[in-house]
């Protein structure tokens, strides 16, 4: 009823294989895009932009990246934090070395730098997989963070080892540094996210994505039908790291403004993004959005409820938050291993048939 596809005829293959084949979905999507680009900038206040929406957008990019690696290509990585750090430090070095370079180009380049580092640390995936690979990516996590905290060149020999983003402008609006307004921060993150999501969606349904999924489902069979595992795995690492690098660059330059490798990009960040992917749904673009939303907005809501609403001590709320996140991971793995995305699919199925049971 609500979610009708009757009368929605397709006359070409292109129309049939579009991302949102159902009209209702498509309009919903256009509406959401319009709302995000036109309405949100007008209504958003500083607290919501800075504390919730901007980190949500940034982490969604990271979750998209990790989802390509884990969800589509089946390679488990625990080095997300370090790859974000590569993006952040790459962005910082480029920003300070070429002050006149446009910040958008800088961030994209930071993504490319991260992609090449990601390929380097993805090389072991050619020989090992599963949690053996996870341990190998942990090596990247610890080594890169050590490198960034110990090598003064990366932080331009600043005495404290902190990197801080100078002010850069896009169309005359500062997007980084303390003078950046909430709206401009929101807009630049939103633009990057939309482009990244579009890229991810189209990569994963193209031949590259099919190769990744073939490797994920059964690597030997994939090789026999002509998928080159070397190419498939390394491209997955490259694309995934590219997204994660962009997320790291945005996190540092736009959101945090100043960062320190060990503190801002530690292993807990790797786990956070991993959890987003698990809770959101492995192998789903929508899942990345859902997971990031859940893990960024959820704790804030919980904090508002417990601390401001019930007047509980802040530490208790923080402990409960860790506990609840852990429990949710377990619940999702047990009840719905494919995450929120699978729940959403079920709901959509039900909506299509509603009010009839089948």
């Amino acid at each position: 009823m609500l979610y009708r596809e009757a009368g929605d005829f397709k006359t070409s293959y292109v129309a049939d294989s579009q991302t949102f084949p159902i009209r209702f979905d498509r309009y919903g999507y256009y509406f959401l895009l319009g709302f995000a680009f036109l309405v949100m900038p007008l209504v958003i206040n500083d607290y919501w932009a800075n504390a919730i929406v901007v980190p949500f957008l940034i982490y969604t990019i990271a979750a998209l990246g990790l989802n390509i690696l884990i969800g589509y290509c089946g390679q488990l990585s625990l080095g997300t934090g370090a790859f974000m750090a590569v993006g952040a430090y790459g962005c910082y070095k480029l920003m300070t070395a070429f002050p006149e370079l446009n910040i958008i180009i800088v961030i994209v380049f930071a993504g490319f730098i991260t992609a090449s580092v990601g390929v380097l640390f993805g090389l072991p995936s050619l020989r090992i997989k599963g949690f053996y690979l996870a341990v190998a990516t942990l090596a990247a996590q610890f080594f890169l963070i050590w490198l960034f905290t110990r090598t003064a060149w990366f932080y331009n020999y600043s005495p404290t080892g902190m990197i801080s983003a100078p002010t850069r402008e896009v169309f005359g609006f500062p997007v980084t540094g303390p003078r950046a307004s909430a709206v401009s921060m929101y807009m630049i993150c939103l633009c990057f996210l939309v482009v990244c999501a579009w890229l991810a969606r189209n990569l994963t349904r193209g031949s590259l994505g099919r190769q990744w999924m073939a490797i994920r489902d059964m690597d030997i069979a994939a090789e026999i039908i002509g998928v080159n595992p070397l190419m498939a795995k390394l491209t997955a690492f490259a694309v995934s790291s590219f997204f994660i690098g962009i997320a790291g660059a945005l996190l540092f330059a736009v959101y945090l403004g100043a960062a320190e490798a060990g503190e801002a990009f530690g292993i807990d960040k790797s786990f956070l993004v991993l959890f987003m992917v698990i809770i959101g749904g492995l192998g789903s673009i929508f899942g990345a959005f859902a997971g990031a939303f859940f893990l960024i907005v959820g704790p804030v809501l919980l904090k508002l409820l417990l601390v401001n609403g019930l007047g509980w001590p802040t530490d208790l709320a923080a402990h409960l938050e860790i506990m609840i996140i852990g429990a949710l991971i377990l619940v999702f793995l047990i009840l719905e291993p494919h995450g929120i995305a699978a729940l959403w699919r079920t709901i959509k199925e039900k909506l299509r048939l509603w009010p009839f049971p089948y």
């Binding site: 607290y47 080892g161 902190m162 303390p178 401001n308 001590p313 923080a318 860790i322």
Partner: protein
């Protein structure tokens, strides 16, 4: 039904999160009671909260306006720190006290934009002493570079004013915080001819086997520590293990509290640390605290921390904040002050010995005054030594003054570099 109620509560809290314009003085605290550095954060936050409770209960607030105290959990994490900052910045916070050098660096440019004063007491960015550049940041009564200089001055006095040929190891927390004193110590080592060896410990630092083997090989005369959290007790234990003489082991003020020495037990006896204020419950103010806060059960946390070093520091920080608020009320002649007025109060703060006695804290902290140019107070600190048998810290020196000339010069260079980076013209705000 349950869901609706939950949703209703949630909606109500969202509304409640909007700024309140009541006649209160809002003192937020970006505390951390969880995470790897919780042990220190809890004690400080309890002291900070208890003093405000005392003022409310005993005096009915500052100048008749009640204090509204709020806490936001950062877990020593800069991202959460930013979130906390955003959640309170429109709620007219009078002064921020983030208790984290990392968060301080993050907030300095933001508070400058938003016009919110920040007090980073004995931590944060040292060059904020230059109030002409860092108009909104205050780090009285002492900063890291003062601390390094005080330690060297203390060692000088112990060694007949000569450190020629001595070897000093700096064991530091490998973060923005731990790296702060390196430049100062380098300069001082050139001046006084001692050899400085710096050894970093990565956060959190519960494993320092190699570092202490290295210290054992180096055979230094003194070890100076810039540690925080679990790094401190681990280092003290390792020092005891290699039989490093404890009286030659000196920590900064963040490495000298009960949490750092008690877990080590008797082996920590004789360990020294800087003290920027007194400690223990032998001050008249504790009579009032007991009467108004502790006995009625209005204390923060579990009440275990009362009188500990970091509790005293929280108390001291709150005391300085309240005095600055009083000053601001006096300057502007209004009772309900704004953050901008609070800044004026802080910039004209004057702490005298008489005032401290009057507040029930005689000889607790140094007498100092803040000016527009100097946001750093006097920089003086004492040395305290741990007595493991009695389980208490004893002050073993009087106030030792740092080499302020050198520090001011270094701070000036650093702050001017910051001003140049951000296209600012150093000037007083008034």
């Amino acid at each position: 039904m349950k869901m609706t109620r939950l949703a209703a509560t949630l909606a109500a809290t969202m509304l409640a999160a909007a700024p309140m314009l009541a006649d209160t003085l809002h003192f937020p605290n970006l505390s951390y009671r969880t995470g790897p550095f919780a042990a220190g954060g809890i004690a400080f936050a309890d002291g900070y909260a208890d003093y405000f409770t005392l003022i409310n209960e005993r005096d009915g607030g500052i100048g008749g306006v009640p204090i509204r105290y709020s806490e936001c959990e950062t877990a020593y994490n800069t991202e959460r720190g930013v979130e906390c900052y955003q959640s309170i910045r429109n709620d007219s916070p009078l002064v921020l006290q983030p208790l984290s050098t990392g968060i301080t660096y993050q907030l300095i440019p933001r508070t400058m934009e938003d016009g919110i004063p920040m007090h980073t007491m004995g931590y944060g960015r040292t060059s904020a002493v230059n109030g002409e550049v860092f108009n909104w940041t205050f780090n009285y009564p002492a900063n890291y570079w003062d601390g390094a200089s005080v330690i060297v001055n203390y060692l000088l006095s112990e060694n007949d004013n000569s450190l020629e040929g001595k070897k000093i190891v700096l064991l530091y927390h490998n973060s923005a915080y731990g790296r702060e004193p390196i430049a100062t110590l380098n300069t001082l080592s050139e001046r006084y001819g001692f050899q400085l060896v710096t050894i970093g410990v990565d956060s959190p630092g519960q494993e320092q086997g190699s570092q202490w083997l290295q210290i054992r090989r180096e055979r230094p005369d003194y070890v100076v520590m810039w540690g925080w959290g679990v790094m401190n007790p681990t280092a003290i234990r390792e020092a005891a293990n290699i039989r490093f003489p404890m009286e030659n082991f000196i920590g900064v003020w963040w490495s000298g509290s009960q949490q750092d020495v008690v877990p080590v037990g008797a082996a920590a006896h004789g360990y020294k640390a800087l003290a920027m204020h007194g400690t223990g419950t032998d001050y008249p103010i504790y009579d009032d605290l007991r009467r108004y806060v502790i006995e009625p059960g209005k204390f923060a946390g579990t009440g275990d921390e009362v009188g500990s070093v970091l509790y005293s520091r929280g108390l001291y920080a709150a005391m300085l904040a309240v005095e600055a608020a009083k000053k601001a009320q006096e300057i502007h002649g209004v009772a309900v002050i704004t953050p901008a007025m609070m800044r004026d109060g802080m910039a004209n703060l004057e702490i005298t010995e008489e005032l401290m006695t009057e507040l029930g804290l005689p000889n607790f902290g140094p007498a100092f005054s803040v000016s527009c140019q100097n946001h750093g107070g006097s920089g003086a600190a004492m040395i305290q030594q741990w007595d493991a048998n009695a389980g208490e810290w004893n002050l073993i020196t009087d106030w030792i003054y740092p080499d302020r000339e050198l520090i001011m010069q270094m701070a000036l260079e650093d702050s001017l570099a910051f001003a140049a980076e951000n296209n600012m013209t150093p000037a007083c705000m008034n």
